[in-house]
C-alpha cells in the first residue's frame, strides 16, 4: 500500500466553510477513517488464483463493438441468421410439450445416452472412432477444457500450447495456475521439431509437462490447419515425452475444401483427449460440447463434472438431439461452410486490396485470419484509434500467456456480411496508416515494444464470451 505523501492528519476535520456554501461534514457512519477503504471487504479472502482478474482498458474498449456503427471484426459469434429458426422453434416447442418431464429434469452426469450416440456420427468425418460410453457431455467444450485442466494440472505444472493459442483456454490454464509454454507454428500448424525442442528443454529444466493443448483444425486465432503428415509426428513426440494431448476441435467440420483430416485422437486414442462442440456447427446458446477420453480419464471427468455442475442441461442436450434427428444437420453445416467461405474470401480480398503491407494467414476453414501489422505496429496500442474509426479487432497479445503477439491481430469474418467486412478492412487500413504516421514521427521502431517506465504493459485479459 502506498504511503500518502501529503500530511496525514486531522481525520476528523470537518472542513472550512467558504462563503455562501457549506461543506459537508464527514458523517460518523460514512467516514471511513484512517484505515481507508478498498471498496471490497473481501479483498483479503480471495484465492491466489484470482490475482490478475481485474478491470482492463482493453476489455472496456470492446464495449463499443456491439454498437451498430462499429464494424466488429473482433467477435467469434457464429452467424445464426443462417439457421432455420422456425424449424428449431417448432422442435423446442414439441420437446417441452411431449418430453418436458425429461427435458426439464436433472439428467445423467455423463450426458444423455442418446445424444452421446449421435455425437459419434458428428465425429465420424474426423475419424474419431469411439464408444458412446467414452463421451462426456459438457456445458460447451469450454467446460471440458476446465474439467481436463482441473483433473490434471497442479499449480506450477506446465501446459504446452501453440503460439498463439485460444484465449479461452489460456484463461482456464491461468485459473488453475498452470505455466503455459508456447511452441511456434507456421502455415502448416504446430512445428514438430519446435515441439520436441521445447519438451527437451523443459525436461532438462526439470519441469513437469502435463498437457499439450492444440487446435489442429482452422486454428483460433491463427487460422491455420495442422498438416496431415505432421499429425502422426506430433502424437509420437507427445507419447515419447509422456504428455497427454488435449485436442480442441470446434471448427473441424467447417473446412472449405474437402474432408476433414484425421484427428489426433484417431492416431492414438489412449494418448489424446478430443473435445468437440455444437457451438459453431449448430448454436452456442445451447452450450453443448463434449470430451472423448480414455476410459480411466473419462471416469474422473464425470466425477469432476458432477462436482462442478451435477449434470449438463438436459433441455439443451435433448434440443440438440432432436435437431440432429429431425433436421438435415449435415446440409446445414454445408450452408454455414459456404457462407463462411464467402466471408473468408471477402476478408482476404479486402486485405490484398486495402492493406497489402500487412501479412496474413490463409484459413482453409473456421472463422479467423491472423494478421501481422506492418512496421512493427503495436495492435493493442492502436486499438483506441480503431475504436474511434469504428472498427474492432482483437489484439494479438490476448492469445499469448507471455508478451508475444504485439504486432499481430485477429480478424473474425464469421459474423459481418462481405460488404461490412470490406468496410471494416477499409477502416482498419486507415487506422494503420495514421498509426504508422505517428510511429514515424516519434522515431520509427526505436524502443518499440519496451513499455514506458511507470506504464507497464498490463496483462491482457480475456475478452468477453462474445469475443473468444
Amino acid at each position: 500500500m502506498q504511503e500518502p505523501q501529503g500530511t496525514p492528519n486531522a481525520v476528523d476535520h470537518a472542513g472550512g466553510t467558504a462563503a455562501a456554501t457549506h461543506t459537508a461534514a464527514p458523517h460518523a457512519a460514512g467516514a471511513r477513517g484512517a484505515a481507508g477503504s478498498r471498496l471490497d471487504p473481501w479483498l483479503d479472502s480471495y484465492a491466489a488464483r484470482t490475482r490478475g482478474m481485474t478491470a482492463s482498458e482493453i476489455r472496456a474498449l470492446f464495449a463499443v463493438a456491439s454498437r451498430p456503427e462499429v464494424v466488429s471484426l473482433a467477435g467469434g459469434m457464429p452467424y445464426l441468421s443462417a439457421l432455420p429458426l422456425d424449424v428449431v422453434g417448432d422442435a423446442l416447442a414439441r420437446l417441452v410439450s411431449e418430453r418436458g418431464e425429461v427435458a426439464l429434469q436433472y439428467g445423467s452426469g455423463q450426458g444423455d445416452p442418446e445424444l452421446r450416440e449421435r455425437i459419434l456420427d458428428v465425429m465420424a468425418p474426423q475419424r474419431v472412432d469411439a464408444h458412446p460410453d467414452d463421451i462426456v457431455v459438457t456445458t460447451g467444450s469450454q467446460q471440458a477444457l476446465d474439467l481436463v485442466t482441473r483433473i490434471f494440472v497442479d499449480p506450477g505444472d506446465v501446459v504446452v500450447a501453440e503460439a498463439p493459442s485460444y484465449v479461452g483456454a489460456l484463461g482456464v490454464f491461468r485459473a488453475y495456475q498452470a505455466d503455459v509454454v508456447h511452441v511456434p507454428m507456421d502455415d502448416h500448424g504446430l512445428v514438430p521439431e519446435e515441439l520436441e525442442a521445447t519438451l527437451v528443454r523443459l525436461r532438462l529444466a526439470g519441469r513437469r509437462v502435463k498437457l499439450l493443448y492444440t487446435v489442429p483444425n482452422h486454428h483460433n486465432p491463427a487460422g491455420v490447419t495442422l498438416a496431415a503428415e505432421r499429425r502422426p509426428r506430433i502424437v509420437e513426440i507427445a507419447r515419447r515425452f509422456g504428455v497427454l494431448v488435449l485436442e480442441d476441435d470446434p471448427y473441424g467440420l467447417l473446412g472449405f475444401d474437402g474432408d476433414p483430416l484425421p484427428s489426433l485422437y484417431s492416431l492414438d486414442p489412449e494418448g489424446v483427449i478430443y473435445l468437440g462442440s455444437f457451438s459453431k456447427t449448430f448454436a452456442p446458446g445451447f452450450r453443448v460440447g463434449w470430451a472423448v477420453a480414455p476410459h480411466a480419464v473419462r471416469e474422473r471427468l464425470v466425477l469432476a463434472s458432477e462436482a462442478a455442475i451435477l449434470c449438463p442441461s438436459a433441455f439443451s442436450q435433448l434440443a440438440v438431439c432432436s435437431y440432429l434427428q429431425g433436421h438435415d444437420w449435415k446440409h446445414q453445416v454445408g450452408v454455414f461452410r459456404d457462407l463462411y467461405r464467402e466471408r473468408r474470401d471477402a476478408t482476404l480480398g479486402a486485405l490484398a486490396d486495402l492493406l497489402p503491407t500487412a501479412r496474413w494467414t490463409v484459413p482453409l476453414g473456421g472463422f479467423y485470419v491472423w494478421v501481422r501489422l506492418p512496421g512493427g505496429l503495436d495492435a493493442k496500442a492502436m486499438l483506441p484509434r480503431a475504436v474511434t474509426q469504428r472498427v474492432a479487432y482483437v489484439p494479438g497479445t490476448a492469445f499469448y500467456a507471455d508478451d508475444q503477439g504485439q504486432d499481430h491481430l485477429r480478424l473474425s469474418y464469421c459474423y459481418p456480411t462481405p460488404e461490412r467486412i470490406r468496410e471494416g478492412v477499409r477502416r482498419l487500413a486507415a487506422v494503420v496508416e495514421s498509426e504508422l504516421e505517428v510511429q514515424e514521427t516519434f522515431g520509427g521502431e526505436t524502443g518499440w515494444g519496451t513499455p514506458a517506465p511507470g506504464n507497464p504493459h498490463r496483462r491482457v485479459q480475456s475478452p468477453g464470451p462474445d469475443l473468444t
Partner: protein, 326 residues
Amino acid sequence: MNEWLSPRVLVLAGGLSHERDVSLRSGRRVADALKDAGCNVDVRDVDEQLLDVVRSDRIDVVWPLLHGASGEDGAVRDVLELVGVPYVGSSARSCRLSWSKPVAKGVARDAGLATPAFVALPHGTFRELGASRVLSAIVDRLGLPLVVKPASGGSALGASAVRTADALPRAMVDCFAYGDVALVERHVTGVEVAVSVVELPDGPLVLPPVEIAPDGGLYDYDARYTAGATTFYCPARLTPETMDAVTTMALTAHRAFGLRHVSRTDLIVDPSGQPWFLEVNVAPGMTETSLLPQSVEAAGLTPGTVYRRLVEAAAGTNRSHSVTLS
C-alpha cells in the same frame, strides 16, 4: 411539471466513446439509486430514436451520464437545450470549457488556481518541427517527471507518467491513439484528491474530499475500476488548512466554469500542502468504484436522495431554459 411524487427520469448511458463501458456502469448505478428514491427511471443509449423519446411527454428530466466525447463536450446538451428538455448537469457552454483540458487549465489559472505547467500540441506539430526537437524543448522547459495525456477524455485512458526522456516517444504514441492533441504537463508529486460539489436547494455543497492511493502508485484504468486495487480515504487525510484549500479550489472551479448541479475537481496536493488543479469533470463517474458516490456516503447522505434532489433542481431550473447557440 407532472406528478412529482415520482419524477420520470431518462438516464443516458453508453455512447460511442472509449468510455462507453464506464458510462454504462455509471448509468445503471444512478438509475438504481434513483429508483430506490422513488423515481421512475429509464436507461437508454444515444441513438436515432433518442430525440423522439425525449420529446414525448413521458420524460421530466434527462440525466446525461455519457462519458467522453459528445457526452462531456456539450454536444448532446446543446441538443437537449434545442428541444427544451431539462437535464441534470452543466450547460453545453460550461462543458466545452471543461472538456478540453488545456482550455480548462487556462480558465482555472484565470480564476487564480494553481495548475501544473503544461503544453498542448497536436500530432502535426511534432511531425512538422521534428519530434525530438519539440520533445527536448518540452523537457528543457517543464523538466521531468511529466504526465502525458489526451487533451480530452477521462478514465486515464491514454495517459502515462514519464520519468525519463527516453520514455516520452512511446507515451506520445499511446496518447495520440486516443486523440489528435496531447497535453504534456509537469508531474506534481503528491497526494491525489478529488473534491465533488453538488448543488442542493440550500446552495452548493462541497462533499468530503477523497484521497486516492492506488496500489501501484498509478491511478490508471485498472486501478480505477477494480475494487480493491486502490485505497480511498474519505475524508482525505489533510491538515485543516489544506482541507480548506482543496474545498475552496473545488468551489472556485465550480463557479469559474459556471458549472451546475454536480461537478468533481481533480487535484494534487504537493508535500507543502499546495493544491494543484488538474481538471474538472461535468459528468463525474458514478460507478461502484467512483469517487463522487464515496463522498456522498462519507457525508452521511444517501446517494439516491442526493441524486433525486439534483433531478428536482434540474426540473425546476431549466424546463424553459433559453436556447444559447454559442
